[in-house]
């Protein structure tokens, strides 16, 4: 009797096991078909392997094994502002029949020469392994820590050159602008030559309005929900603004302003400041943050050329003309550009009804992933980052 009920129970268990295995097979089938046949599934699969590559700053074994072999080439194209240096990371093979074309992402890594920075190479190679063409771009001005409105033309030239690469179509080219590179991406995105074809622009740790950015530097504080909070910027963005504003000054005065913020340079003495023209002195005080109570007066004292430059360098000037989808990413503790800049950008885009997505993070130090992060922070920010990456990879799929 006992053995009969025992064997019945065993049979029931075996039947349940069979149905469980059938369920697993059905699930695996759906996953495999979704990931390979449906464009959103393909974007999600790419994002699944790219996310760990971004967070750990190494390429996961699965990405290396299943990814495309990558070729790195260097190109120089010309623009109105001078040469544009392109580092192209592309799969060695042509695009597969489905979808028959490759997405390309132009990476503007901000100021300085970042072309040999391991994190940027890792990102470029990972994108290429996932089947995209990654193009790092820079210009002589960016290499010398200077931001010029004319470099927007360099970005346009890079976009057009990338659209002509084998396997790439102009409508599948997007821009990922880091830090100061984000502003150039915005300015370029309104250019009639690429305005209607650009797939997306993504701004990571970028500013929205150069004048309000300068105010934040001058006050050494950022304005969050109507309240001023202390904020102490790193030296690099101060140097960039000094170099940039110096281009509007006579060369000797411009050199004084630039040199005042060089690494290890002492603050200017009152006698040295007294030799500067009123606009140069106002710019100095704003950048040095030594007159936080006179920020508005110092902004007003900037020369018309400086005011024009700040306007020309501000995405806020062209926000109404932006037509491409925009992704905004910013770390809440950014010490290079206040995260409130992206909040202001988000508010403007929302008010204008423009297609965009905004995500704030806590796992980055400006645009690089911090080390020693807890699992909670990684899961929380990772899910937000995943959603953004899927959006960026949609044109590739």
């Amino acid at each position: 009797m006992a053995s009969k009920s025992e064997s019945r129970a065993r049979a029931r268990l075996a039947r349940a096991g069979r149905w469980l295995a059938r369920g697993v097979l059905a699930l695996l089938f759906l996953v495999g078909a979704y990931v390979s046949l449906v464009p959103q599934g393909r974007a999600a699969a790419r994002a699944t392997l790219l996310l760990p590559a971004l967070v750990t700053q190494t390429q996961p074994a699965a990405l290396v094994a299943s990814g495309e072999p990558v070729r790195h080439t260097q190109l120089v194209v010309s623009s109105r502002s001078g040469p544009v240096f392109l580092d192209v990371y592309a799969p060695t093979a042509g695009p597969p029949p489905a979808p028959g074309v490759r997405e390309a992402v132009i990476l503007i890594s901000g100021v300085g020469d970042n072309r040999a920075v391991p994190q940027l190479i890792n990102l470029s190679e990972s994108l290429a392994r996932a089947g995209l063409v990654a193009v790092q771009m820079t210009t002589p001005a960016l290499l010398s820590y200077t931001l010029l409105p004319a470099d927007a033309d360099a970005v346009v030239a890079a976009v057009m050159a990338t659209g002509n690469l084998p396997g790439v179509r102009p409508a599948r080219v997007g821009i990922l602008g880091f830090s100061a590179g984000g502003a150039l991406a915005c300015l370029a995105a309104t250019d009639p030559r690429i305005r209607d074809s650009l797939a997306f622009i993504t701004l990571f740790g970028s500013y929205y309005d150069a004048r309000s950015l300068l105010k934040d530097f001058g006050r050494r504080a950022l304005e969050e929900n109507g309240q001023l909070k202390p904020w102490h910027p790193q030296l690099v963005p101060i140097q960039v603004l000094a170099n940039t504003i110096a281009t509007t000054l006579p060369s000797d005065e411009g050199k004084v302003l630039s040199d005042a913020f060089a690494q290890g340079a002492p603050p200017l003495m009152p006698a040295q400041i007294a030799t500067l023209s009123p606009p140069a002195a106002a710019a100095y005080h704003l950048l040095a943050g030594d007159q936080p109570d006179r920020v508005d007066a110092n902004i007003a004292a900037l020369s018309p050329q400086m005011q024009t430059l700040l306007t020309a360098l501000s995405p806020s000037t062209v926000v109404g003309e932006l037509q491409t989808p925009i992704f905004l990413l910013h770390d809440r503790n950014d010490e290079f550009v206040p995260f409130t800049q992206s909040r202001a950008f988000d508010a403007s885009l929302t008010a204008l009804g423009k297609r965009h997505e905004f995500a704030e993070f806590g796992i980055f130090a400006h645009v690089e992933v911090k080390s020693g992060l807890g699992i909670g922070a990684l899961v929380d920010d990772g899910s937000r980052l995943f959603r953004i990456i899927v959006g960026l990879l949609a044109p590739a799929s």
């Binding site: 295995a21 097979l25 695996l28 393909r42 699969a45 790419r46 299943s66 495309e68 597969p96 489905a98």
Partner: protein, 88 residues
């Protein structure tokens, strides 16, 4: 490519094993039928992986290998049953 092909073999093996657990083993294959199901899974995964590489690129080949292997082992198990049903 070798690593990728080994991955497809692994996928085929897993699919074959799950198919056996699901009772998807053609009855007429006898005592060694389990080996046939595993072999079918591996073979179909290799074909699927190659097809996936040609159509969707290397990156998606393993996903294609997965669902083609599943289609193959399920079709293998269901074909005799469907044939018997049609004969009735």
């Amino acid at each position: 490519m070798l690593v990728l092909a080994l991955g497809w073999v692994a996928v085929g093996l897993v699919v074959g094993a799950v198919a056996l657990a699901a009772g998807l083993r053609p009855p007429m294959w006898g005592a060694r039928g389990w080996l046939g199901v595993l072999g079918m899974g591996i073979g179909a995964a290799l074909v699927g992986g190659t097809l996936g590489t040609l159509l969707f690129g290397r990156f998606f080949s393993t996903a294609v290998a997965l669902w083609i292997a599943i289609v193959a082992v399920v079709a293998l198990a269901l074909a005799p049953r469907l044939a018997a049903l049609r004969q009735r």
